[in-house]
């Protein structure tokens, strides 16, 4: 009995290691790094306001959380998400500028692991210093930035490699890519499972979101006239629950990638989700068939 358990544990270990062993083209890492850096630069200020209308422009002016722009009167409301975390105005002013500078450094691919580590800490600390700053897409953004700290993303599209004329590696370890894919699958599963409740499946939640102006547009109205609120709610929940497993399985990955991209384009066109769709498309891109050579092909 005991030896059977040991054998099962050993087999599980081999299976798990096999998912992560191997090499892959360095391109997915470089593209993910650039995507995250661009997402940070787009989301944490309103510099593109003259060109685009983005959801967060409704409340962001200049650099997000800049005390000089927010002009909060003393005594300011202190309500950190992490008890005891307090960032004064001087430190906050420094950190919001450091955040933007580091995002540019990350974009250029200069010491990307170190840069991403510091950037993730700064970004997360600024959000956690005020509970009302929390959004799911911001949590995902800074979490993704933290994942870049374990990702070898400087082998392509990197200024330091170009200036230093360092030789470019042909391949990179595959395990960080699998971690990114794992994160993507978990977001879909968590989001899908959370929707398995009567309010969502009956369409009441979507109807309320429409009333709040958070869901809108011609595509939305056309979809609702075809399948109704309940159909839309059920369809979204099923899509999110199914995307994770379909992406994980190599045989269905191609179709899941297409469906996922369409799903996020539709969400982006109908819902106020800020950069969430952009982030998820970046994660979907990690499933593209880059030159991948593993012990197994999963």
């Amino acid at each position: 009995m005991r030896s059977a358990a040991w054998r099962a544990a050993g087999a599980l270990e081999v299976w798990y290691r096999d998912r992560f062993a191997g090499v892959v083209s360095p391109w997915p890492y470089a593209l993910f790094r650039i995507g995250i850096a661009v997402s940070i630069l787009v989301r944490t200020n309103d510099w593109l306001r003259p060109i685009f209308t983005l959801d967060h422009y409704a409340w962001v002016r200049g650099l997000e959380y800049d005390p000089q722009i927010e002009q909060v009167v003393s005594p300011a409301l202190q309500s950190p998400l992490i008890p005891g975390l307090s960032i004064g105005p001087a430190l906050a002013a420094f950190l919001v500028r450091a955040r933007t500078s580091l995002a540019v450094v990350l974009l250029l691919g200069i010491k990307p692991r170190l840069t991403a580590s510091i950037l993730a800490l700064i970004g997360a600390a600024l959000v956690a210093a005020d509970r009302y700053r929390y959004f799911h897409h911001l949590y995902l953004l800074w979490l993704s930035c933290a994942w870049l700290a374990i990702t070898p993303s400087s082998e392509r599209l990197s200024l330091e490699r170009w200036v230093g004329r360092w030789p470019r590696a042909v391949s990179a370890p595959r395990w960080p890519l699998q971690i990114l894919r794992q994160q993507c699958i978990i977001v879909y599963l968590a989001s899908g499972v959370a929707k398995l409740n009567s309010d969502w499946l009956s369409g009441r939640t979507l109807s309320a979101l429409e009333g709040l102006g958070l869901v809108r547009g011609a595509l939305w109205h056309r979809g609702i006239s075809l399948i109704g609120y309940s159909g839309a709610g059920t369809g979204i929940a099923v899509a999110e629950c199914a995307l994770g497993p379909l992406l994980a399985w190599r045989r269905t990955r191609f179709w899941a990638l297409g469906a996922g991209a369409l799903f996020h384009l539709a969400i982006s066109a109908t819902m106020s989700v800020s950069i969430f769709s952009l982030l998820m498309i970046l994660y979907l891109a990690t499933f593209l068939p880059f030159q991948e050579c593993g012990v197994s092909s999963a």
């Binding site: 409340w59 927010e70 971690i179 409740n197 009441r204």
Partner: protein, 149 residues
Amino acid sequence: MRPSSSASDGSAAPRLAWLLLLTALCVVPVLCALVSGSSVASFSMFTELRRCRLTLYTNSRDGTRQRFALRELVPYMSRDARRVLAPAEAGFIGETNVELLVGGLGHLGRLVCQLDPRAKSVELRLARAQLTGAALPEVHQVHLCNRLE
């Protein structure tokens, strides 16, 4: 056993413990959020909307009880706090924001104490309901203003 992490071509997976730790970092926050019913870190995205309305009262030393207008706090709030809290007195529909508001009632009480020198305590009442209109338990907190006499 499988290749060790010391393989020179970088193709080996790192130690199993390291991979399990990274996997846990992906999974544990979401699981904790799901189990505890919290929407922070849950990626639940608009799924548990609630109606809520926040009312503040100050209790003075002379025994009078007065309504405290939330709009008086607005200048002391960050832009994001304004976005969430400014509509709370009239009532709003939210998911994570409602949970964040519940967790931050004590901080609001402390701010009211700072702004109203006559206040002995601050009463915070958050009425909540499901989208169907079914009432949920009201959150009622009393924050004592600790003042040096």
